[in-house]
């Protein structure tokens, strides 16, 4: 899959951005790692794709990627969706680095909305694309005020939202972008990953970097950092569960997407992490529809 350097686009610097910009981004990343969960402002650049498509993640990846890296890009867990394919192609053409769909082979994984099922290891970097970095934004519209709330660690209002969930739905209904406390200090939005993935962030051996292009913020969770999901004593944090297993690989421990298969109510559940699903099938695990699909 790798391209030789001759095949990279002519006239572009390595990883698209110029060296000064990458330096600025690296400085922001270093600061973000030094203060886990703190949103560091950075001079976000125009990228050749629209805001909301991963401009922040791309800039962070461009800042940290080197010749020796192997890149994996996922969108909602899948390697083969538009966003993932186009970003992977973008870096293949502007850097010539090796790309992969296998989680364990990648040194950098850029992701939109998921954390891979396979546990990540030391030395890997997980780059999130973040649309709205400020977890307090829907509760407090003023940026000056939210910054002050972070500075003084005034986070009571976040529980107001969770209270409201329980009052309306009988349980904490927030199922994605579930707020977390990083290192016991900063309240952080984990980008819109499902809360199913929240426990994976805690004490993760890999470095987690978050880039928000439109909002011009970078934040980070260094390896082995405590990440707690907020909850109430009498309504503890819990993740989604499914009655079914993956129809293709039979996995019961992964995040499942519901797929409508016809217009008479037919449906199936499949792993959202395509690499994990393929891996399991290669090892001989099959779900109810797995063999038929082969």
């Amino acid at each position: 899959m790798s391209m030789s350097h001759a095949q990279t686009l002519e006239g572009y610097n390595f990883a698209y951005l110029d060296e000064q910009t990458k330096r600025m981004i690296r400085r922001a990343i270093l600061k973000a790692i030094a203060v886990p969960g703190y949103q560091v402002p950075f001079g976000s650049r125009e990228m050749p794709l629209p805001y909301g498509w991963g401009t922040g993640g791309i800039q962070v990846t461009a800042g940290v990627i080197g010749q020796a890296d192997t890149l994996k890009v996922i969108d909602q867990g899948a390697d083969d969706t538009t966003n993932a394919v186009s970003i992977r192609h973008f870096f293949a053409r502007t850097t010539g680095v090796k790309t992969t769909e296998r989680t364990e082979e990648a040194t950098i994984i850029q992701t939109r909305h998921r954390i891979p099922e396979r546990s990540l290891s030391e030395g890997q970097v997980l780059v999130y694309q973040v649309p709205i970095p400020e977890p307090l934004r829907w509760l407090e519209p003023r940026e000056t005020e939210t910054r002050k709330m972070h500075a003084l660690a005034e986070y009571g209002v976040m529980h107001v939202k969770l209270y409201e969930d329980i009052a309306r739905f009988g349980r904490i209904a927030t199922s994605y972008a579930y707020p977390v406390m990083v290192n016991g200090r900063y309240l952080m939005s984990p980008s819109p990953i499902p809360k199913f993935d929240n426990p994976k962030m805690d004490n993760m051996p890999a470095l987690q970097l978050f880039g928000a292009g439109r909002e011009k913020r970078i934040y980070a969770i260094p390896p082995y950092t405590k990440v707690e999901s907020l909850d109430f004593e009498d309504h503890p944090f819990e993740v989604q569960k499914w009655d079914d297993c993956c129809a293709l690989c039979g996995a019961q421990d992964s995040y499942l997407d519901e797929v409508i298969t016809d217009d008479v109510g037919g449906r199936m559940f499949v792993c959202s992490d395509t690499d994990y699903c393929e891996d399991r099938r290669a090892q001989g695990h099959f779900g109810p529809l797995g063999q038929a699909a082969e």
Binding site: V160, K161, Y163, A167
Partner: protein
Amino acid sequence: MSIDINATPLLSVQNLGKDYGNLVACTDVSFDLWPGEVLGIVGESGSGKTTLLNCLSAQLAPSRGAVVYDTRIDGPREIFEMTESERRLLMRTDWGLVRQNPRDGLRLGVSAGANVGERLMAVGARHYGDIRAEAANWLQKVEIDVGRIDNVPSTFSGGMQQRLQIARNLVTEPRLVFMDEPTGGLDVSVQARLLDLLRGLVTRLGLSAIVVTHDLAVARLLAHRLMVMRQGRVVEQGLTDQVLDDPQHPYTQLLVSSILQP
């Protein structure tokens, strides 16, 4: 009500003044507020009442003077010399602020229960059942039907919103409550009920309060002591009945004589 002669004042204001550029909004304001006392600040529009209240409640830094508050732990402290985090903690635990327009003081997008519970969560309450029970308890105290605990305040009437705002402020049992025209915009019968409720709460809980109003009837019902302001200065102060029944300053006389007699 018995007053301990040797007590320290809860709030002590010395030569407070606030300028907006060349405009003097209020100046040379000094008074002591004692525990359990309700002070009324009256005066016409533009007399500096609200600026004064904003300075006292630490929402606005004054240009001159000092505001000393008798904190629970450290004793008397100048509020503008505290760190911002100390001041903000004070504002959401020991103080209450009831705004003229309840929409400014409430969180309109969340239920009544969450509005009342917000301060509890801000000081670390993390048990949903307890927070909810406390919220229900306070709704009862301000005469809001507990069945409406999950309704958002925008479905409430003006009087209910104002009562909800009061409950939201009193839930952490503050010692000092600032009120800016608490009955503004309410019709007279609702005003009367609200005043009755406020008076009851203030007496029962032993609150101190500073009430800004242009309505002398409100001042007479709520305030023990009255301060009359005009053009940024205090022109007269004394016991409420004394000021209203025997006004000395010509402006106070004018103010008292302007009350409509139905």
